[in-house]
């Protein structure tokens, strides 16, 4: 068994094993399951990173079965970065969850209102983790579909863990959108297979898809995935779903789940289709960018209007997803025209910036959701006025939220800043001043809603709200995530180098 095989298998099997372990009742197994999943993911991520960095992209055929029937796992720079991000965020959220859900051994848990969430969060989450790793490592479209579907189901399950009517409705809506998205994706897969007879990403890329059928296929897949990513204006399901889920769930959904479908879009557009098709149709790139810009403005303005902390953060996710899509129009080398054939490649700063944003947003948003969860846990209320003055009681959570917001708004020093810098650089180097303006404006809007929360948190009210003491672990994990988001701002070269492995150029 090669190293690639070992680590890529571990990345998928580890969380799955963990999920199975947690089905056994008891705190021991819950924690054991989480530990197995976290350890295997982290190790797999690191191991694969090492291999990718040293030897280039790695492949593994599961069980030795080749295409077209076998399951092909593929690890390149982009994949391992997403894998590592998932491992990092996932581990922190897992730690947080063990504190957040309290003692699962408590016999009263099953009948308590939050008991079901506490009981089932871990297995659902680990299943989610399995599918996330599966998505990132999948080398063929059908595997992607299967993993995507598992992802969608478990993510919807996470939302419905909360027992309120609101949460159930939100979960239902999310599930439906997710399923329709999957169907659209599947339609695209079917169309592609009819056209090329292969589902392997590399195989398709080598075939260089052009023509009507692949175009419609890509359209269907993209729109389906965009609905799952909650790209404006298909985002309406996200704010209720993400805010209704229990805090660790919200963090996972906002930080990772939406990134998985985004990851597939990136794969398809940049790697599978590549310049051959996409480069020719800059209109499509512009269209995605326009939706992204719309998301930035729409999401941010709505975030400003929220009176509920978690809804605010959820709308912020809508806005930040917009940023991810602004990456697309910045990709071509030359503005306003099609480049010469042959020398065409994607602007490395554009797509590097996009991915960097995805990564730092994952850490930052997870930190914010966890910190927000801590605050609402302490005051048992989710409304902004109820957290007034919380900065003085939970300084570390407040700080974690602030640092997360810092990165989100693209203020230095933070990963968000580097991402924004890269994207701005791509925009300005090709004279796309309009996009630069939107990127800058989005940052300001982000600041505005982060500040809204800060203001409430700092405000000193005469009548203090009831306050429940908070386990330290919840504060620390959020802080760790926030600090990671900030630390990403100091050393981007390695990550960009890694991203370059199997890079932006078509395979």
């Amino acid at each position: 068994m090669t190293d690639v095989a070992l680590w890529s298998t571990a990345a998928v099997a580890g969380p799955l094993l963990g999920a199975i372990l947690t089905l056994v009742r008891g705190r021991l197994f819950t924690q054991l399951g989480l530990a197995v999943a976290a350890a295997s993911s982290l190790l797999a991520g690191l191991g694969l990173t090492r291999i990718v960095a040293l030897e280039g992209p790695g492949r593994h055929l599961l069980g030795g079965w080749g295409a077209p029937l076998g399951i092909e796992l593929l690890a390149d720079g982009l994949a391992v970065i997403m894998l590592l991000t998932t491992a990092g965020v996932g581990s922190a959220v897992s730690l947080y969850a063990t504190a957040y859900f309290g003692d699962v051994d408590d016999p009263g848990m099953d009948v308590a209102p939050g008991g079901r969430a506490a009981r089932f969060f871990t297995p659902v989450w680990l299943l989610l983790w399995t599918s996330l790793n599966g998505v990132f490592l999948s080398g063929d479209l059908f595997n992607l579909y299967v993993n995507l579907e598992i992802l969608g189901l478990s993510a919807a399950a996470v939302v419905t863990l909360a027992v309120t009517a609101k949460a159930t409705l939100a979960g239902m809506r999310y599930l439906l959108v997710s399923l329709v998205g999957s169907m659209l994706f599947l339609l695209g897969v079917a169309l592609l297979y009819t056209a090329y007879g292969t589902l392997s990403l590399e195989g398709l890329a080598a075939a260089g898809p052009t023509g009507v059928v692949p175009a419609v296929a890509l359209g269907a897949m993209t729109v389906g995935l965009a609905a799952k990513t909650a790209l404006f204006p298909l985002h309406a399901w996200l704010p209720p779903a993400h805010s209704a889920a229990p805090a660790p769930g919200s963090a996972l959904l906002s930080a990772l789940v939406v990134k998985a479908s985004f990851y597939i879009i990136v794969r398809l557009w940049l790697h599978v289709y590549g310049v051959g098709l996409v480069g020719a149709g800059e209109g499509a790139l512009l269209f995605l960018g326009a939706l992204g810009a719309g998301a930035v403005v729409w999401g941010s303005l709505l975030a400003l209007r929220q009176l509920s902390l978690k809804r605010l953060i959820a709308y912020s996710t809508v806005a930040q997803i917009g940023y991810l899509f602004i990456m697309f129009p910045l990709l071509p080398e030359v503005a306003g025209g099609v480049a010469q054939e042959g020398e065409m490649g994607w602007r490395v700063d554009a797509w590097g910036g996009g991915i960097y944003h995805a990564v730092s947003h994952a850490f930052a948003k997870a930190a914010m959701f966890l910190a927000a969860g801590t605050m609402t846990y302490a005051v048992a209320d989710d409304s902004l006025p109820s957290i007034s003055g919380i900065a003085h009681r939970l300084p570390m959570s407040f700080l974690a939220f602030g640092l997360g917001g810092l990165s989100l708004a693209g203020l230095p020093p933070s990963g968000g800043f580097v991402a924004k810098w890269l994207m701005l650089s791509a925009a300005l180097a090709t004279d796309r001043w309009l996009w630069a303006g939107i990127i800058a404006l989005g940052g300001l809007l982000t600041i505005a809603y982060v500040l809204l929360v800060m203001r409430y948190a700092l405000e000193v009210r005469e009548t203090p709200t009831a306050f429940r003491s908070v386990p330290r672990r919840m504060e620390w994990t959020a802080m760790a995530l926030a600090l990671t988001a900030v630390a990403l701002g100091f050393r981007a070269v390695e990550i960009l180098d890694l991203l370059d492995v199997g890079g932006a150029a078509p395979w």
Binding site: R173, V216, L218, G219, A226, L234, A236, F287, W298, R305
Partner: protein
């Protein structure tokens, strides 16, 4: 460092050092007694034969301070140190019962440091430094009594002082640019003036003219040059007597020293020179007229100072007009300054003595002694005044032609005016006398007053020694002035008799009053009307941006409200479905 150099350093150093010990309570209590010792190094330096040429450079201090003593400086130092010593002594007695004496002596010493420092400062920035120190520290002396009048005088004083400083500074900027920013003194200064293209060009012909104008005005404020004299008649009377004596006796002379030291002596500025001379003559008369219309002894003295500084301006104007007369005019101005400084100092001090004169003390002998410096000022024969005026006359003669023809009779008339003014002073002084029960008060003040009076009176003897004029100067012998000097006094007597003898016709003249500070009253009125104007014109430029930002914020919330409604529609199945379908086709189409 030689002894002389050390003494040179101590000249401004000792009073300065004493002044900055002010925060230490114990030393502060001793300051009044120590004050009279502070000018002693300066006095010693001025009296040491052959002290000229002593020089010291302190590169680390300020912009690199150069201290040096030259002939003119020595003459000024003599006057300055002597008057400060006497005034310090006088003030210690005068303020013996004063609750604010510690504050007074703090400012006193700081002013002293500045004044002595500027005399020995060799470069223009060091001069400016000391000049400013003196000016601003003297504010404390002017407002010492804290009465409303004193504060008003202080305000006028400081406003004028700052305007003067600004003029001076801009003049210095011009010099600084020409010299490359280095401190200027001696030959370099002269070279800079040449560089500025003075030559024979008129004002506006080159920066040189502007610089000269600015320096003339800048120092002119301090020197009480009409019409920049506004502060003088207000500040001199309200200050405590010792301070008045210093203000009139030496501090206004600092402006004159500035003129002498830093105006060009080798390039002619005829227009400016002429203007300065005309202003000087005008001031000589104006001071008399406005002074006669005053009701307070000290104010009369202040106007007298304005009038006397007119003569000095005349001399300085002559230098600018024609560098050929520079040497003679320099001597004339120096003599005039020394003589006037001592005499005016004595007169001011006598006011303080008069106020504290006990009921049983000899009034008339006091008045007699007080009248002597007044006579000297009027230029009575055998006094320093006569001799100083003789030199001024020599300067005019040297200029010759029309100047002589016009100025000679005018100066005679002005001298008569001065005599009248002094008479007026003595009358007012007499009114102030007596009524004080504490017999010792005046006695304590008498010694320094008498000393200054004596030195002032003897000026005709020591003047030639204080400033060794170059060979070019032939000092008129004492007796030559006799006839000419007697003339004005007689003329004044005649005028006075005329007024007194016909009260029904000319009596109105004696009741004519000019408010102290004359034009200031106008400016104060104008200021009270306009002070808010610039504010309104300027009001909050860019500060309403704050409000605009708020508005944008408010509006964005309204947009958001609109959006929020639309956001809910996006959840609806049909719309979602339509979007999904439309986007799929659109993306597909766009890709082709």
């Amino acid at each position: 460092m030689s002894t002389l150099e050390f003494v040179l350093l101590l000249t401004p150093g000792l009073p300065g050092l004493l002044a900055v010990t002010w925060p230490l309570r114990r030393l502060r209590r001793a300051l009044p007694r120590l004050a009279a010792l502070a000018p002693l190094p300066a006095l010693a330096l001025a009296l040491t034969p052959g002290a000229e040429g002593t020089a010291l450079v302190l590169p680390a201090v300020f912009t690199g301070v150069h201290l040096a003593l030259d002939a003119v400086g020595r003459a000024f130092l003599l006057l300055t140190a002597a008057l400060w010593t006497a005034a310090a002594w006088y003030a210690e007695r005068y303020h013996a019962q004063d609750a604010r004496r510690e504050a007074f002596f703090g400012f006193f010493l700081l002013t002293m440091a500045g004044n002595l420092g500027l005399v020995v400062a060799a470069d223009i920035l060091a001069f400016y430094l000391c000049f400013a120190t003196m000016t601003f520290a003297a504010y404390g002396l002017v407002v010492h009594t804290r009465t409303g009048e004193a504060l008003r005088a202080g305000r006028v004083y400081i406003v004028m002082a700052i305007i003067g400083e600004m003029g001076l500074l801009s003049g210095l900027f011009i010099l600084g640019v020409a010299s490359g920013g280095v401190p200027l003194f001696g030959l370099e200064l002269e070279a800079t003036w040449l560089l500025l293209g003075g030559g024979t060009e008129a004002v506006g012909g080159g920066m040189g003219g502007v610089a000269v104008l600015l320096l003339v005005l800048g120092f002119g404020v301090k020197a009480g040059l009409t019409p920049l004299h506004l502060w003088l008649p207000l500040a001199h009377p309200v200050a405590p007597t010792a301070a008045s004596a210093l203000l009139s006796g030496v501090m206004i002379k600092a402006g004159v020293l500035g003129w002498l030291r830093y105006l060009p002596t080798e390039s002619a500025y005829p227009l400016l020179g002429t203007a300065l001379m005309v202003i000087g003559v005008g001031a000589a008369f104006y001071g008399v007229v406005a002074g006669l219309a005053q009701g307070d002894a000290k104010t009369v003295l202040a106007y007298s100072s304005i009038s006397q500084m007119g003569y000095v301006a005349l001399g300085v104007g002559a230098i600018l007009l024609d560098p050929g007369v520079a040497v003679l005019a320099l001597a004339g101005v120096v003599f005039y300054v020394l003589h006037h400084g001592m005499a005016k100092g004595a007169l001011f001090l006598s006011v303080g003595v008069a106020e504290r004169l006990g009921t049983s003390q000899p009034k008339w002998s006091f008045l007699f002694i007080a009248a002597l410096p007044a006579l000297a000022l009027a230029g009575a024969p055998f006094t320093g005044g006569a001799r100083a005026k003789a030199v001024v006359k020599a300067v005019i003669e040297e200029l010759g032609g029309t100047w002589y023809a016009v100025l000679d009779p005018l100066l005679l008339l002005a001298a008569a005016g001065t005599t009248l003014l002094m008479a007026r002073f003595l009358v007012l002084l007499e009114r102030r006398m007596g009524g004080h029960t504490d017999e010792g008060g005046a006695l304590g003040l008498a010694v320094p007053w008498l000393a200054v009076s004596a030195v002032g009176l003897a000026a005709s003897l020591w003047l030639p020694l204080a400033y060794v004029p170059p060979e070019a100067l032939v000092l008129p012998p004492l007796r030559v002035g006799l006839a000419e000097a007697a003339g004005p006094v007689l003329l004044a007597g005649a005028l006075a008799w005329l007024v007194w003898s016909a009260p029904e016709r000319l009596g109105a003249l004696t009741r004519f009053r000019v408010p102290a500070g004359d034009l200031v009253v106008l400016f104060e009125w104008a200021w009270s009307r306009t002070r808010r104007l610039p504010q309104e014109a300027f009001l909050s430029f860019g500060e309403d941006m704050v409000e605009k930002v708020r508005n944008v914020q408010r509006e964005s919330h309204e947009y958001a409200a609109w959006l929020a409604e639309r956001d809910l529609y996006l959840m609806r199945g049909p719309l979602l479905g339509a979007l999904l379908l439309a986007f799929t086709l659109l993306v597909g189409a766009l890709l082709l």
